[in-house]
Symmetry: C2
């Protein structure tokens, strides 16, 4: 009579045992592929499992098992909608899947409290390990988790005031390489546009620019920093273009987008060289196509996942490591525009 059907109680190991006519331990043995089960009983159990559509309650099993493992890991990124974070998450997922682990993800939006909150929720769910792209503030609160046996690996930037592994890109070398690349095409008046120096990666990249320019023997490099979005980058680029640089290096993809806008506005896309940090979806469709310093996101994800699972497998994983992943300069046109005597 009732249109609404009460949901069926999910079958338990007991139901399976009863149907198969064996004890619960035998069912447990079969489900966990433990030895010492007569083939006949095994098949009877499997039949019962199939006919009841039994599905093991992983979370119940984890609370009892000695290692308390949940076969899940937590990942905190800054913003999952951002392509870097999305690709990273995908990589982490793939590596987690190989180890039969599931991934809980959350976005911190760069806010330390949100980061902490997510970590707390993950730990409340007893994830086996944590992968964190740390926001500002410090990560000392993670010491407590680590002491309780939850390993942490930082990604993209090292954590602060906490001992843990970290996997980061070689930001400095990347920009340095960009400077050299432009120098090879005759540039010396190379300006730099960067994000706030409080951001770890931004500071590293700026350092790379300075080091590169020093190497080039340019006394007064021109760097504009503190650019937090595309619009401010565009404005800064317009200002900088007035000083007639022959080349521009942009510290991240938002800045690159702003700079391209500015260059189009000034009509100098074909005359001023441009190298951007981070690859962009349509980089090769622009004219000239964008030369970029591309991060090896696949490698970052793999190394981070490997480190985490390594610590998970043997509790004493050795000293904490900082892995530095090389970046690759990808020439597509905009970084190979020669000076043609336009600079001084």
């Amino acid at each position: 009579m009732a249109a609404y059907q009460e949901p069926l109680r999910a079958p338990t190991i007991k139901d399976v045992a009863a149907l198969a006519g064996v004890g619960v331990k035998t069912v447990s043995r079969v489900l966990n592929d433990e030895p010492h089960v007569r083939p006949e009983l095994r098949s009877r159990v499997l039949e019962a499992v199939a006919s009841l559509k039994y599905r093991r309650n992983t979370i119940a099993s984890s609370i009892r098992r000695l290692d308390q493992r949940t076969a899940s890991i937590g990942l905190v990124v800054e913003d999952l909608a951002n392509p870097f974070a999305a690709q990273l998450t995908r990589m982490v997922q793939d590596h987690a899947r190989e180890r039969r682990h599931l991934v809980l993800v959350g976005s911190s939006d760069g806010a330390p409290e949100q980061e902490r909150e997510l970590v707390a929720e993950f730990c409340s769910r007893r994830v086996d390990g944590l992968l964190v792209v740390p926001s500002g503030g410090d990560q000392s609160y993670l010491e407590a988790e680590r002491e309780r046996g939850t390993p942490v690996v930082f990604v993209d930037r090292p954590g602060r005031r906490v001992k843990a592994d970290a996997v980061v890109s070689d930001n400095e070398q990347g920009v340095r390489q960009a400077v050299r690349h432009l120098a090879e095409h005759g540039h010396r008046r190379i300006a730099y546009l960067g994000d706030r120096q409080s951001v770890y990666t931004a500071a590293q990249r700026l350092a790379g620019y300075r080091a590169g320019m020093k190497e080039l023997g340019v006394a007064e490099p021109q760097a504009r920093t503190g650019l937090r979005d595309s619009a401010s980058a565009q404005q800064a680029a317009l200002d900088v273009l007035d000083t007639e640089p022959t080349a521009l290096i942009c510290g991240n993809n938002l800045i690159t987008a702003g700079a391209v806008h500015a260059m189009q506005q000034r009509g100098v896309r074909d005359r001023v060289a441009l190298v951007g940090f981070d690859d962009l979806e349509l980089a090769d469709l622009l004219r000239p196509a964008l030369t970029v310093i591309a991060q090896d996101i696949a490698a970052i994800g793999r190394r981070a996942a490997d480190l985490l699972f390594q610590r998970l497998e043997r509790r004493d994983g050795g000293p904490y490591q900082r892995v530095i992943v090389p970046v690759a300069l990808t020439p597509r046109g905009s970084g190979e525009i020669p000076t043609d005597g336009q600079g001084r």
Copy 2:
């Protein structure tokens, strides 16, 4: 002596009770904000919680609680590295967080077995609900989950052979609108490039193209389908351009990228109009900038999450719904190129 420190056992509700000098039930009451606890005891419990750094084991609590809720949901997308999936996931996360739920994510890569496997893992963890971007094949296997009380909402495409809610974009109207838009700029020779018709969205979009062209009174619309990647789209676009259309509509962003390449190769970017389905990161940096039919990913994510949580809140959520989310044509230049008498 040992360099390696044995991880501390995480404190339990019992430890808290002992320290506070109360029974475990009282602690549980405090943690769950239940009434009938003397303020004095409450504060003693909270003190103990703080000093032990106690953190409730959510998974243990879920196995005992009557509703068996885990405060987590599962999301299966095709490929998290894809911007559509990434933005969708972000939206779902935000809405889940509002309801204090966590999100487990996985990528199916469009493979039905991977989709099933992910769903199985999620259900094994007893997620409260499922959000699924269905792959090919059918989703009848989800009936079992729904019967056991796990609601399912399909996203982007409806599931097959299973009754469940679905939230999809208005693909047909979108392309139809694109045809009208181009017609308003004088076009009649409008060609269409689309993905395999076995893909739900591709079939809908093609239907929109056909309907639009019929409305326009064009007897023989020119559609090329079956394009599964950028390279094949580029080749198809080259072929199609030989027939001298005055405008092109592309069924998804991979195809759009291929078509833009082809148009640049032929040097017709400024002469042939272009409208693409799906927005692209740098669409406004191209010259001419790309006119696109943009999906409202925020709305899709919100509606899907709302439907799911609605079913979660009252078990009898009413009849299954198919929500159709409007898309928006975003003019940026490439879709507003006039025919200039180049077409016939």
